[in-house]
C-alpha cells in the first residue's frame, strides 16, 4: 500500500474544518492560522501529486480503495488521471489564495477580508473544498455524487451569511435550486446506469471503471446522455442554464466567488465529462451537435453580455460564462485537440478567474462600489493589483504567451475538425473580450479617481500580493512553457479517446 496521498488531500479540509469549529470563536487569528496551515498542506500535497504523476503511463494513478458499503457496491475509490490531476492542483491553489485574501484584519479600519465570524466562514469554505477534492479524485460514481452534493450545499450558507447584502438571499436560493435540480436529474441517470449495469453483468457496483465496460446500448445512451450531461453541466454554467451563476458570483464574498468560478464551475464540467461523456460515449456522439450549439452560444453571448455590464463583478461573472462555454465547446468536439484544450482551459480559467474575483474584491472592500464608472485611478494606489489584473486580462483575451492562448487555440483547432462555421462564429468572442477587458482596465485602474474615493483607498496587503503572485505564476509558466501541463492532460485525453473508440 502506497502513501494514501489522495485521501489525505481530500480529508485535510474536513479535519481542519472540524478543528476550527472546536476552537473558541473569538480567537480569530488562531482560526485563520489553522486555515492557512491546512491550505498550505493541501497545496503542497496536490503539487506533489501533480509533479510526481507519471506522464509516460496513462490511466489512473495514486489509486486507493476502501470498502464503504459493499452490499451496494459502493467504495471509497480514489485515483487521478491527466485530466483530474491539474484540477486537484487548481483546487489547492485556489484554496490557498482564497484563505490569504480572506485573512482580514480586526485592527484596521479597512474592511478587507472576513471579519465577521471567520471561524464559521473558513469551516464552511473548507467543507466545500472537501467536496471539491472528493469529486476530482473519485472513481466511484456514488462517491462522486456524494462529494458533488457536499460541494454545492455550503455555498448556500456562505452566500446567505457573508454575501453582498442586497442580493444574497435571492442569489443563494436561485443558485441552490438550480444546482439541486440539475444534480437530481443527473442522479436519475446515474441510477439508471447502475441498474442497467446490474442487469447486464450481474454485478452491483458504482465503480466507474467497470461501468465503462458495461456495454450500455445505443438507445440507452442516447436517452440518458442529455439529462446526465446537462444536469452536471448546469454547474459548469452552460447556456441556457447559466443565469444562476453571475448572480451567485456577485452575491458571494470574495473567497467564495474565487472558489465558485475558479473551481466549482470546473466541478460541473468535470462531472459532465467523467459521467456524461466517458460513461455514455455513444450518447455524446449522438448529441454532439446540441452541446456544440449551446457552447457556441455561451461563448459569444457571454462575452457580449459581459461587454455591456456596468457592475465590475457582473462583468467578470459573465466572462466566466463565456470562458466555460469554451470548455464545453472543446468537450463537444470529442476529438484530441478539443479535449486537450478543454482540460487546459479548465485550469487556466480557474486561476484566471480566481485572480479576477480576488482583485475585484480588493477594490470593492476599499471603494464600496463596483460600478465601473464610479471607479478609477486604482493603478496609482495599488500597482501590484493592477499588474495582476492586466495579466489576468491578457489571459482572458487569449493573448499568446499566456495560458489562455495555450488552452483556447487547441479548442478552436478541435472545432475546425468538426464544424468550421462554429469556429468562425466563436472567434468573434475574442475581439469582444479584448474590448471589454481593455475598456475596464483603462477605466478602473487608469482613469481619473473620483473625488469621493480620494484618500479612502489603501494599497493591498502583503498576503494579497502573495495570492496574486501565486495565481499569475501559473498563467505565465503555462503560457511560456506549455509542456508544464500539456503532456499530462494529453494522457487523460488519450483515455477519453479510447472510450470514444478513437478520434
Amino acid at each position: 500500500m502506497n502513501f494514501p496521498v489522495l485521501s489525505i488531500i481530500t480529508f485535510t479540509p474536513l479535519v481542519a474544518a472540524v478543528v476550527m469549529l472546536l476552537m473558541p470563536a473569538q480567537r480569530k487569528n488562531e482560526v485563520r492560522a489553522v486555515a492557512l496551515a491546512a491550505a498550505i498542506f493541501a497545496l503542497i500535497l496536490s503539487a506533489w501529486v501533480f509533479f510526481t504523476y507519471n506522464q509516460s503511463t496513462a490511466g489512473y494513478q495514486f489509486v486507493e480503495r476502501y470498502n464503504w458499503l459493499p452490499a451496494l457496491g459502493i467504495s471509497l475509490y480514489f485515483g487521478v488521471d491527466g485530466i483530474s490531476a491539474p484540477l486537484v492542483l487548481l483546487t489547492g491553489v485556489v484554496m490557498f489564495t482564497g484563505v490569504l485574501i480572506s485573512w482580514g484584519d480586526d485592527d484596521k479600519h479597512v474592511m478587507a477580508g472576513i471579519q465577521d465570524r471567520p471561524r464559521e466562514f473558513f469551516a464552511f469554505l473548507f467543507i466545500l473544498a472537501w467536496g471539491v477534492f472528493g469529486v476530482f479524485v473519485s472513481l466511484d460514481l456514488f462517491m462522486l455524487f456524494f462529494f458533488y452534493e457536499i460541494a454545492v450545499f455550503p455555498m448556500y450558507l456562505l452566500i446567505v451569511i457573508w454575501g453582498w447584502i442586497q442580493t444574497r438571499e435571492y442569489a443563494a436560493m436561485k443558485l441552490t435550486i438550480y444546482l439541486f435540480i440539475g444534480s437530481v436529474i443527473s442522479l436519475v441517470g446515474v441510477l439508471a446506469m447502475y441498474w442497467l449495469q446490474y442487469k447486464n453483468t450481474g454485478v452491483l457496483s458504482f465503480d466507474m471503471l467497470l461501468m465503462e465496460k458495461a456495454g450500455f446500448s445505443h438507445a440507452f445512451q442516447n436517452i440518458w446522455f442529455l439529462p446526465v450531461f446537462l444536469g452536471f453541466a448546469v454547474l459548469g454554467g452552460i447556456w441556457p442554464f447559466h443565469n444562476w451563476s453571475p448572480d451567485g458570483h456577485v452575491a458571494a464574498p470574495t473567497a467564495v466567488s474565487m472558489f465558485h468560478a475558479g473551481v466549482l464551475m470546473k466541478l460541473g464540467a468535470f462531472a459532465a465529462l467523467r459521467v456524461g461523456i466517458m460513461l455514455l460515449p455513444d450518447g455524446a456522439k449522438y448529441w454532439q451537435w446540441l452541446i456544440m450549439f449551446f457552447a457556441a452560444v455561451a461563448v459569444v453571448y457571454g462575452a457580449y453580455i459581459a461587454f455591456v455590464q456596468m457592475d465590475f463583478k457582473y462583468m467578470v461573472g459573465f466572462s466566466s460564462v463565456s470562458h466555460m462555454g469554451l470548455v464545453m465547446l472543446g468537450f463537444s468536439t470529442l476529438n484530441r485537440q478539443g479535449l486537450l484544450g478543454s482540460g487546459l482551459q479548465m485550469f487556466s480559467h480557474g486561476v484566471m478567474t480566481a485572480l479576477f474575483f480576488a482583485v475585484v474584491g480588493m477594490i470593492y472592500d476599499r471603494a464600496h462600489t463596483r460600478q465601473i464608472p464610479e471607479l478609477g485611478g486604482m493603478a496609482k494606489i495599488m500597482p501590484f493589483a493592477t499588474i495582476g489584473f492586466i495579466i489576468g486580462g491578457l489571459v482572458s483575451m487569449g493573448m499568446p504567451l499566456f495560458s489562455g492562448f495555450i488552452a483556447e487555440f487547441p479548442i478552436f483547432m478541435g472545432v475546425w475538425g468538426r464544424q468550421w462555421l462554429v469556429a468562425v462564429i466563436a472567434s468573434i468572442s475574442i475581439v469582444i473580450t479584448a474590448a471589454y477587458i481593455m475598456r475596464n482596465i483603462r477605466q478602473v485602474f487608469f482613469g481619473n479617481m473620483p473625488e469621493k474615493l480620494e484618500g479612502h483607498i489603501t494599497d493591498i496587503t502583503i498576503l494579497d500580493k502573495v495570492a496574486i503572485t501565486t495565481l499569475c505564476f501559473f498563467m505565465i509558466v503555462i503560457g511560456l512553457f506549455p509542456s508544464f501541463m500539456v503532456p499530462m492532460v494529453q494522457t487523460g485525453v488519450e483515455n477519453i479517446l479510447r472510450l470514444l473508440g478513437g478520434s
Partner: protein
Amino acid sequence: MNFISTHLLSTILFFPMLSAVAMLFLPKGENKLFRWFAFVASLVPFALTLVAWFQFKSDQPGFQFEETYIWYQAIGSSLHLGVDGLSLTMVLLTTLLTPLAILASFSISDRVRPYMMLFLFLETGMLGVFMALDLLIFFVFWEAGLVPMYFLINQWGSANKDYASLKFLIYTMGGSLGLLLAVQMLGVLFGTYDLVTLYQRWNSLEPGSILMGMSVHTVKTIAFWAFVIAFAIKVPLWPFHTWLPDAHTEAPTAGSMLLAGVLLKLGAYGFLRLVLPFYPVEAKMFAGALALLATAAIVFGAFGSFGQTDFKRLVAYSSVNHMGFVVLGIAAAAYAIGTQDATIALNGAILQMFNHGLSSAGMFFLVGVIYERTHTRNLEEFGGLFPIIPIYGGLLIFTSMASLGLPGLNGFISEFLVVRGAFPVLTAYTAISMLGLLFTGAYILKGIKKVLHGPMNEHWAHGEHKLTEINAREIVVMVPLMALILWIGIYPAWILDVINKAVVMLF
C-alpha cells in the same frame, strides 16, 4: 562565445525580454539607471545582429542560423527560428531602431521603468515575427507585440490616447481574427505549423479535391483574403488605414518611431513571407485588386497628408503614402511572378520597407523634438523657425528630402525600383501612383514651409518661449539614421545585394 554562436537568433530574440524582466530588480526611483540599462540592453541585440549580418552567406538558399526548440508538441508547433536575406534586413532595421527609440525617450520622466520595459518587450515581439519559421510562432509574436504598444500609447500618449489605443488594438485584433482562423485551419489540415513543410504541402494539394465540403480553390481564396486583410490592416492599406493617423499622433515620440519604423513592416513582411509563397495563384488572380488599393493608399495618403494642419498627422499620413509603394511592388511581383520585372519590383518593395523605416522614424523623432519644446503640433503656430534653430532646420530638410525621394538619398532608389518593376506589369496603376508622387512632394514642401520658412512667429523668438536648439543627445539619435539614408542613397549595393539574392531564391 560558443553558446552565442550556436544560439545567435534566440539570443537576439530573448535578450530584450530577459533584460526587461531584469529591470524589475533594479532599485526604485533611479530613472537615470533605468534609461541607461534599457539603452545598453537594446544595443546588445544590435551588435549581435551585425555579427549575424556579416556571417550571413547571401549566396546560400534557404534559411540560416536555424534553431528549433520544442514548444507545443501536442499541436505540432515548435519554436523554429531562422532568417534569410529578407528577414535579416528587417531584423537589422528593428535592432537598429529600438536603441534609437530608447535614446529618443530619455526625456520621459513619468514612470520610466515600465516605459523602458515595454519597449524591450516590444522589441522581442517584433523580432519574433521576423525570425519565426513556424506559423503559430509567427502568430504568437504578431499578437504579443500588440500589448506593449497598446500600453505605450494608452499610458504615455497625448490627449486623445484612450480612443486611439483602443482603436489600434481592436482594429488589429479584429483583423487578425481571419489570420487566426486560417492558421488554425492549416494546422488542422496538416498537423504541423512548420512553414517549410506547409509551403510544400499546401501548394501540392490537388486543385480538384474537396476540403471541408468546399473545393480547394474556394478554401484557398477565402484563406487568401483572411491573410490579406490581417496584413493590409497592419501595413496599412487604404481603406483599412484609419487607425494609423490616430495611433501615430497620440503615441509618444519613440512609440511613433517604432510604430512607423517597424510595426508597419510586419504587415508587408506578412505579404512576402506568407501570402506570396502560400497563395501564388490567388495572389496573381487578385493582384489587380491589391494594386488598386495600393494606388488608392498612395494617392489618398498624399492628399490626406497635404490636408493636415497637425504636423504629426501629416507625417502619419505620409506613411500610408509610402507603404502604398511597398504593396504596389508586391502586387506587381505577384502578377508577373518569375519575370525580371517581378524581381525588380520586389527588390524595390523590400528596400522601401527598410528606407521608410529610417526616414519615418527620423521624421517622427524630429516632430517629437519640436513638440517637446513648443507643446503644439499645429503647423499654423510655427513659421520662420529656421533662423532660431538652424541645425534642427537642416536635419528636418535632410530627412524630408529622403521621404520625398530626392535622388542621392535612399527613398529615390527604392521608389524608382518599385516603379520600374511595376510599370510594365501594371502600367495604369503605376502611372497614377506617379502622379501621387507629385503630391508627396507637395505635402513635404508644405510641412517644411510651414515650420521653417515664411514670416517668423515672434512668439518662439524671445522671452520664456524662446526655442532651444536641438541638443546633442537628439543629434546622436539622428546621426545613424541620416548616415544610412545617405549611404543607401549613394551606394545601395551593400544592402540590395542581400535583398536581391533572397528575392531571386525565394520567388
